[in-house]
Symmetry: C2
Subunit: 226 residues, 2 copies
């Protein structure tokens, strides 16, 4: 489903050049549940942003479901992303002026879906993360972990083919963290492909495969068979 | 050093009233290292904001080093806070237009400190969190964990009497997380009082005392002696 070949991502700031990803190649099959782990600053969010069509690579090729998406024009990229991908951002990226339920509804506005169905799906997603009683609040009126759960709800509400989650349990206590992991596992059993960045070894272990990143490169997986 | 008596904090949004803290009383002695734990949304950040003079309680009394600070006028509150308290916010609160080193320097601008000494302290704080090579970057050019480390560096640079840290390792891999815990432990051995909110049981265990919060109330500590 996903094929990255020699992906490069370099950031330039005045005189400093940061090679965030240096020649990353990997394949992720449909229905897989992959965890991405590695030290702070090694390139995990950058990799997820490339996978999620949020960021363009500076080099290399990205094939999604057989289609070369590395050079799609902006408008097509956005359409593709909104329809197929659910993204949980590391810093949530909730819209401050919209209520919790309006935030969660956003991905559904990109489809031809009747209002009644949108409302019922939003309510379902809110119940999955236990935040029904906060539907009308603004993000700034929520705790850190509640904001994170809204971000998770927004990523799953549209039942996307691919869910990319950047540290979805980083601000959650163990019980809420387990509930999010349970939701992701259930979605995966129903066929959703999941790629999750995590710093938690116990949550990483709940995925079916772990990809380790170090200094912008993927560590060859067979090293772990030693 | 810190004495909270019957602290109340209620938020009102249109028709909904949220009692974030309902009658919290606790004492923290100088030089203690306390962890605050509890489920998402139970009131930990609110408690830390009251302790850090970032938020005023809606009821109750707060004595800091013998002085009643519950009703200080705004200007005095800010002065007091800047001089005595270092705060690591759950969402970092870095200033986007300032570089990493300018962000870390901020608490030092509130004192009569010569420029050369400020610069050397900032450099020291950067080295403590391993981000010397990112000094001139803007926060938006850093990874989530790097931003969190800048927030930690800014909290410790002024060598404050009290450090309040709201989930300071939530976005860090185990190695970087351990380095932050080591830094806090060392500061505590040198006499700094530390109150840290954490979701990580292993980091909570490195504190000398754990305060559990549930639904806006402190759970009586002697229950754990059973
Ligand atoms: N400005 C606000 N207006 C209304 N309610 C608020 C506001 N800020 C916080 N709350 C509510 O107060 C309660 C406590 O929030 P707090 O941020 O202290 O939780 P927390 O324990 O830090 O949670 P987390 O572990 O998720 O960070 C939550 O239910 C939250 O929704
Ligand atoms: N806009 C940018 N400009 C310059 N450098 C950047 C930019 N964004 C990211 N970087 C750098 O790219 C590298 C990889 O960043 P990335 O956010 O992918 O790390 P990460 O593995 O997700 O880290 P963390 O675990 O701390 O979230 C980091 O060294 C970071 O400083
Ligand atoms: Mg990241
Ligand atoms: Mg909090």
């Amino acid at each position: 489903m996903i094929k990255l070949s020699n992906i490069e991502k370099t950031y330039r700031t005045d005189d400093i050049e940061t090679r965030a990803l240096g020649g990353v190649s990997l394949t992720i099959g449909e229905g897989e549940f992959v965890a991405i782990m590695g030290p702070s600053g090694c390139g995990k969010s950058t990799l997820l942003n490339v996978l999620g069509l949020v960021d363009r690579p500076t080099g290399g090729r990205y094939e999604f479901a057989g289609e070369d998406v590395s050079n799609l024009p902006e408008r097509q990229l956005v359409q593709f992303r909104k329809r197929h991908i659910g993204f949980v951002f590391q810093s949530f990226n909730l819209i401050g002026d919209l209520s919790v339920e309006e935030n969660i509804e956003l991905p559904l506005l990109y489809r031809a879906m009747p209002k009644a169905e949108r409302k019922s799906r939003v309510r379902e997603a809110l119940e999955l993360v236990g935040l029904q009683h906060r539907a009308r609040h603004k993000p700034s009126q929520l705790s850190g972990g509640q904001q994170q759960r809204v971000a998770v709800a927004r990523a799953v509400v549209g039942d996307p083919k691919l869910i990319l989650a950047d540290e979805p349990t980083g601000n959650l206590d163990s019980k809420n963290g387990e509930e999010v992991m349970e939701m992701l596992t259930t979605l995966n059993e129903q066929g959703t492909t999941i790629v999750m960045v995590t710093h938690s070894p116990s949550h990483g272990a709940q995925a079916k495969r772990i990809i380790t990143v170090l200094d912008g490169q993927v560590v060859p997986e067979k090293e772990f068979a030693l």
